[in-house]
């Protein structure tokens, strides 16, 4: 018998900000959606890969270009090394692949699932621990690899139960090409990246003005803001693009559009050249998946041809990640049913009938029926 009042324990019952317990129906729905998505990934021949929940800090360092250091959970091992809970899966997968497949030149396909951790307690209502599942396709620089990513993402979302969604596709190279042609310094490029990815074009224009860029050149720069929903619109932008690097970036998107249409998924995609990521490791095609009912992207991905080189393997790669929690939130708001089988047989036993009840329970469980054996009768 406890000598303390119930209030005494109340402080112990809370979970820290940004993390929570998931149980009952909600958890059943989550597991169901996860398994559906993974099923789609396996259908494309992706192999499950598991990396540790924490790594050496250097795997997520600034040079790698992932989450800023202050948003990482850091701690020390017995030798004083700094360890970090993974904020996203791509750098660990890249490290793992570089380690075990150093000499492999054929394409490699991996999928993963698990928790990612970002220390964002400063902002209200944001998850510190989130469930992510995703794929990485390594050693394939082709447009067909890009298209496979988009098509697989479409199928993952369809399989999860979503029907109304859009995948917005951009190419980081376009932005880099324009910056290079304009001879912008790194600081300006970095601020510009923030403004453009926030669709804050007037701030971008002011910045370019303050850097002494001429009106005509500014206009060309801000053409990045044009919205493109099909190949023809892309072609128009291509004609107006002055530098080779950006033109090549558009050509890649036009090509990609063609292959995606061959998959039959043209209606799910649109193009947006302002799409830039906070992860600096992205080098080419980049995309985000959106649906109603959630304020954030449910999926993000892109090409990271330089990332594996940080781990000693030169391998062009592309991948994407689905935010399972955001996806579930959106599905709930869209009132999309996720049928979960929770039917359970219940057998009540008494002291006298226990043996017979147990026998029945064993038989039912062998048949694959969920069976509860609980005390009943006079109790």
């Amino acid at each position: 018998m406890s000598t303390h009042t119930p209030e005494r324990y109340h402080d112990l019952l809370h979970t820290p900000d940004g993390v929570r317990d998931i149980y009952g129906k909600e958890n059943a729905r989550k597991q169901k959606v996860l398994s559906r998505v993974l099923e789609a990934m396996h259908l494309y021949g992706y192999e499950d890969l598991q990396t540790p929940a924490f790594e050496y800090f250097d795997v997520f360092s600034r040079e790698i270009g992932t989450t800023p250091s202050r948003d990482l959970y850091k701690f020390f091992d017995a030798d004083g090394n700094t360890l970090t809970l993974r904020p996203d899966f791509t750098p660990p997968v890249a490290r793992c692949v570089a380690k075990y497949f150093m000499d492999e030149t054929e394409p490699l396909r991996f999928c993963y699932q698990g928790s990612a951790f970002v220390n964002t307690s400063a902002f209200q209502g944001k998850r510190s621990e989130s469930t992510q599942t995703g794929v990485e396709l390594i050693n394939d620089p082709s447009v067909y690899a890009d298209a496979e990513m988009i098509a697989l993402l479409v199928e993952c979302l369809q399989k999860a139960g979503l029907s109304d969604f859009q995948i917005s596709i951009g190419n980081v190279e376009y932005f880099k090409g324009v910056c290079q042609a304009a001879g912008l310094d790194q600081d300006t490029e970095s601020s510009l990246r923030d403004y453009i990815s926030g669709k804050n074009y007037f701030a971008a224009e002011d910045l370019l003005k303050s850097r002494g860029m001429k009106a005509a050149q500014r206009d060309e720069f801000l053409r990045i803001t044009d919205f493109m929903d099909d190949r023809d619109a892309l072609k128009k932008v291509r004609e107006a693009t002055g530098n080779e690097r950006s033109r090549k970036a558009i050509d890649r998107l036009i090509d990609l559009c063609r292959v995606i249409e061959a998959y039959g998924y043209g209606r799910y995609i649109s193009f947006d050249l302002t799409l830039l990521s906070k992860y600096h490791y992205y080098t080419g095609v980049i995309f985000k998946g959106y649906t109603y009912g959630t304020g954030e992207a449910i999926a993000t991905g892109g090409r990271y041809d330089g990332l594996l080189a940080h781990f000693g393997k030169d391998a062009p790669s592309i991948g994407f990640m689905i935010q399972i929690d955001a996806l579930l939130e959106a599905m709930q708001r869209q009132k999309i049913e996720i049928p979960v089988d929770t039917h359970t047989e219940k057998i009540e036993y008494t002291e006298e009938s226990y043996d017979a009840c147990l026998e029945k329970a064993i038989r039912l469980r062998k048949e694959g029926i969920r069976t509860l054996l609980v005390p009943g009768g006079d109790r």
Binding site: F123, D164, Q166, S168, G198, K199, N200, Y201, F202, A203, F227, D229, S270, D272, K288, Y290, T291, Y292, G293, T294, G295, E296, A297
Partner: protein, 232 residues
């Protein structure tokens, strides 16, 4: 009513929801939207107790809320578009697209206090700062002035802070400066210019791309032509 209004194009099956900031900003926003061809008669009835105002014809929905809540509604997609001051947008730091400077509701974010406090801002010594904008105040003192400060969050009448000696200085928006003057306070430093901004939900920008882009480009045209007129 505006007869030059052109019919809206694009998918009309869904409403576009717009969050407005209660008060003068809402009136100015509606005046601007009207010039761009969007209107809401229901909103003009000031006595109405309704919370959500609809224009069935243009499939628009409007609601009024407190300024700091506008970015929240927009971030979570409860509103597709919002209009509020950039002071609030910076302070709330929500994941929204900031797409237009509407060029009204102009004022300046300032550090203000009694003349005697001017000296305190010249050194890196610890001072007390009262503000409705703790985020902006912290960013300014920590990252731009590199001065260590204690920030005290207040919810209104911030000018009281230095007068009753709760704080050495305040960080607040200043429009005409008359409130400061009446209380013998002065603008000591300017932090940044402020004006009304249009913000857009990230998902809506893609999912309702056509309609939202139409709103943005029409409103931008009006803003630019007015700016041009003012310059002449």
């Amino acid at each position: 009513m505006n007869n030059t209004m052109q019919p809206l194009s694009g998918d009309r099956s869904q409403y576009l929801t717009i969050a407005l900031t209660k008060g003068r900003l809402a009136d100015q926003t509606m005046a601007l939207l009207e010039k761009a061809g969007y209107y809401c008669e229901e909103l003009e009835n000031k006595k109405s107790r309704k919370l959500v105002f609809t224009n069935e014809e243009q499939k628009l929905r409007f609601f009024l809320s407190k300024g700091p809540d506008v970015p929240t509604y927009v971030e979570y997609g409860a509103a597709d578009i919002g209009v509020t001051g950039s002071d609030i947008i910076i302070e709330e730091n929500r994941r929204v697209y900031e797409v237009l400077d509407l060029e009204f509701g102009k004022c300046t974010m300032c550090v203000a206090g009694p003349e005697s406090a001017r000296e305190l801002l010249k050194h890196h010594e610890r001072i007390r700062v009262a503000s409705k904008y703790p985020g902006i105040a912290r960013d300014y003192f920590y990252n731009r002035k590199h001065q260590t400060v204690d920030i005290i969050k207040l919810n209104g009448s911030v000018e009281l802070g230095p007068i009753v000696e709760l704080a050495d200085v305040i960080v607040d928006i200043v429009e005409t400066g008359s409130t400061l003057k009446a209380n013998r306070l002065k603008v000591l430093e300017e932090v940044c210019p402020i004006s009304a901004r249009m913000i857009v939900n990230q998902v809506s920008m893609t999912m309702k791309a056509q309609r939202i882009r139409e709103v943005i480009s029409r409103v931008r045209e009006v803003v630019n032509s007015e700016k041009h007129e003012n310059q002449l």
